[in-house]
């Protein structure tokens, strides 16, 4: 099985460790993951802001880059959701029937990380060790667009040393919403502050989620509040092993 990593434009530019950890984790599980250098973005920023014409070349590049692979793994529920639910809309609007067909063929092979681990590889124990108290925020697109359900929680429960504590009102949005965070900044911050309050109430040291976009927003609020709680991507937690701990100490 040829597997490609779709690292996402955000992880590529701002959170390279999440990309490195996704690759490391997949390789540890025996997946010879490739990084096609032609990749750029899934087009979600354009689609969700209403720039569908501008999304077409981005979608075209996505399809061209990934269509030769058997599976595409991305550490983002939001990007995977966009591929599965929005690419068809963009492709149809483009009037390019061949592109619509190719995109429809590819979309079901694009997996969010936890889906790929649990559904395709069939593992929940990925051999990770992470000492600490953690709480998990199921990001909206992973939860509702993709229906990842409790897969990330199944994975976290198997991590050695990790104590998972429940987040109150976990399924409520954090208020990020892509360009919403800028266009409606005041409302975005107000929603996020309630999320932060719930995170702090757990007493956890780390907030984990499967989307760097939401984590950037919540993390930005947490550090503004000098809360002392870190945010981490699911891949960053799952990639840690006993050996990493020993190397660090």
């Amino acid at each position: 099985m040829r597997v490609a990593l779709s690292v996402t434009c955000m992880n590529d530019a701002l959170f390279p460790e999440t990309g490195r950890n996704t690759a490391k984790l997949l390789r540890r599980l025996g997946v010879d993951v490739e990084f096609p250098a032609g990749q750029a973005c899934c087009a979600q920023p354009m689609v969700n802001t209403g720039y569908l014409a501008e999304a077409v070349p981005v979608l075209r590049n996505f399809v061209r880059t990934f269509e030769e692979y058997d599976a595409v793994v991305t550490p983002s529920g939001s990007c995977a959701g966009s591929v599965r639910h929005q690419h068809a809309i963009v492709a149809r609007r483009s009037g390019d029937a061949a592109l619509a067909h190719r995109s429809a063929e590819l979309a079901p092979r694009v997996y969010e990380l936890s889906e790929f681990l649990v559904d395709v590889l069939g593992v929940t124990d990925v051999g990770a060790t992470f000492p600490g108290t953690v709480t998990y925020h199921p990001t909206c697109h992973a939860l509702r667009m993709l229906g990842t359900a409790d897969r990330p929680v199944q994975l976290l429960r198997e991590v050695r040393g990790l104590r998972l504590v429940e987040l109150l009102e976990a399924t409520e949005c954090c208020g990020f919403g892509g360009t919403f965070a800028m266009k409606n900044a005041a409302t975005s911050v107000a929603i996020g502050e309630d999320k932060v309050r719930n995170v702090l109430a757990t007493g956890a040291q780390v907030l984990v989620a499967g989307d760097r976009s939401c984590l950037t927003h919540i993390g930005g609020l947490l550090s503004r509040a000098r809360a002392g709680v870190r945010v981490m991507h699911l891949a960053d937690v799952l990639a840690r092993t006993e050996a990493d701990l020993e190397a660090a100490s």
């Binding site: 981005v58 409606n184 409302t187």
Partner: protein, 474 residues
């Protein structure tokens, strides 16, 4: 006299103002979480809830697909039952019919059953211009009206008010329009309800003409249906001599059998009750019983425009339960006024642009962006309106409506991003610039982002560069 939404600022500005009101936020938080919990509990009791949702959506879709046929059947049935049928293309036409009926009976006042359609067309204001007072009889609508306020929620229009605010309002305003509130009125709910009852009873008994909407209109029998919690609507539907009902054309259902589905979906979704306390149905005229003159105004007002929208037409399935408002993170913080319409929340964010069309009004154009696209509304909707997808499609319509002129900064940025994000090579080039840009942004700290949040630290190396360095390929 109630206020008007006309000339409201676009959503971001109205929302920012609403967010500064601490009492409002506390009232909203309390009310929405209470309704949400009630709804979750009663929905969980129904084993075939998902099948019911599918059935509700299917019935409405079938109605919309053959709307013309169903409406003609409805018109025929209504006429056969003795009702007078009027067709209204827009708000003006609908308001004129109601005013003419009232004037024909020399009525200087009408009592009203809570109705979204009449609020949508600004009926109270139009009647006031003709010298006719329109009295709201729904308790929450009465609170809004007495306060010269605007509704903030579809089902609970006074959701933004707490009990002590209501007490003060009753004391200060009831006397001006009828039976005054007792001087020793407290904020005890039973005392407040009693004051409203005495105030309204006088109006029910005095009014010659009543105005209602309808939750459903059964085509094959010509029956109109109103579901409610208080019974005040039933008073209006039975006591006055004349009844005028303003009904959106999408309210038609083919037969009584279809109501079975909606009578399960609606109360559980809206009030979190297994069954609504009052269900009134009336079919034309019955000699010696109830109103002896019945008018039905079938209202378009943008509905056929919405129907022509391939993606958006599903919004016409809406049964006005307001479940989407109660689960919406945006609505919960801003309240309904920020949406600048009688239809607030997620459904308002799609319905208003669909009725009016994109590009005509800045305020309406801002509504499809008043959402984080979290999808909670779609999950809660009893007739499965895919609100997030409609929002995205409407955003595209708003963008397209503004193409052609001088592009704004956002359009310029999106065009540039589109070029860069369509090529791994160009993105790699751009990423070399991203790091310094982020550093400057952190330093300047003036963006909309940094007003409430920190920016992430810029990494020393992008993933792409790291991969090339480690793997030596690509």
């Amino acid at each position: 006299m109630t206020g008007t939404f006309l000339g409201m600022p676009p959503f971001p500005e109205a929302a920012r103002r609403a967010l500064e009101d601490g009492t409002l936020r506390a009232n909203l938080d309390h009310a929405t979480s209470t309704i949400r919990a009630k709804r979750d509990a009663v929905v969980a009791e129904v084993e075939d809830w998902e099948e019911l949702r599918l059935a509700g959506a299917a019935i409405k879709d079938d109605v919309l697909l053959r709307l013309d046929e169903h409406l003609l059947t409805l018109e025929t049935s209504l006429r056969a039952a003795g009702a007078v049928v009027h067709w209204a293309r827009d708000a003006d036409e609908a308001c004129r019919v109601v005013a003419e009926v009232a004037k024909a009976h020399g009525a200087h006042e009408v009592v009203k059953v809570k109705s979204m359609a009449t609020q949508e067309i600004g009926l109270n204001e139009a009647l006031a211009a003709e010298g006719i007072d329109a009295w709201e009889t729904d308790l929450a609508e009465l609170i809004v009206q007495l306060g010269d306020d605007l509704p903030s929620h579809i089902l609970v229009p006074a959701i933004h008010r707490n009990r002590s605010e209501v007490r003060d309002l009753f004391r200060s305003a009831m006397g001006e329009s009828g039976v005054p509130a007792p001087d020793d009125l407290t904020d005890d709910p039973a005392r407040l309800a009693e004051a409203a009852r005495l105030h309204l009873r006088e109006k029910f008994l005095r009014a010659k003409v009543a105005v209602s909407g309808a939750n459903f209109a059964v085509a094959d029998t010509g029956t109109l249906v109103v579901v409610e919690s208080e019974g005040n609507g039933r008073m209006c539907l039975t006591l006055p001599e004349v009844l005028v009902s303003v009904v959106g054309v999408e309210k038609v259902v083919p037969s009584w059998q279809d109501l079975e589905v909606f009578f399960q979906l609606l109360p559980r979704s809206s009030t979190g009750e297994r069954m609504n306390p009052y269900t009134s149905t009336w079919t034309g005229i019955h000699t010696g019983d109830g109103p002896q003159e019945v008018h039905v105004v079938l209202l378009d007002n943008g509905r056929t425009r919405a129907l022509a929208d391939e993606v958006g037409r599903q919004a016409l399935r809406c049964i006005r339960c307001s479940a989407c408002l109660n689960v919406c993170p945006v609505y919960e913080r801003t309240g309904g006024h920020a949406y600048g319409s009688v239809y607030p929340g997620p459904i308002g964010a799609i319905l208003n642009p669909l009725l009016v069309g994109p590009g005509a009004d800045r305020q309406v154009d801002s509504l499809p962006y008043a959402s984080t696209l979290c999808g909670a509304c779609y999950e809660a909707c009893p007739v499965r309106i895919d609100i997030p997808s409609v929002l995205v499609d409407l955003r595209a319509q708003v963008v397209d409506a503004h193409r052609g002129g001088l592009p704004g900064p956002e359009a310029v940025a999106m065009k540039a991003a589109s070029r860069v994000l369509a090529s791994g090579r160009l993105l790699a080039l751009a990423e070399r610039l991203t790091t310094p840009v982020l550093r400057i942004a952190r330093y300047v700290g003036a963006s909309a982002w940094t007003r409430g949040r920190e920016l992430p630290a810029a990494p020393a190396e992008t993933f792409r560069t790291w991969w090339r360095r480690k793997e030596g390929t690509s």
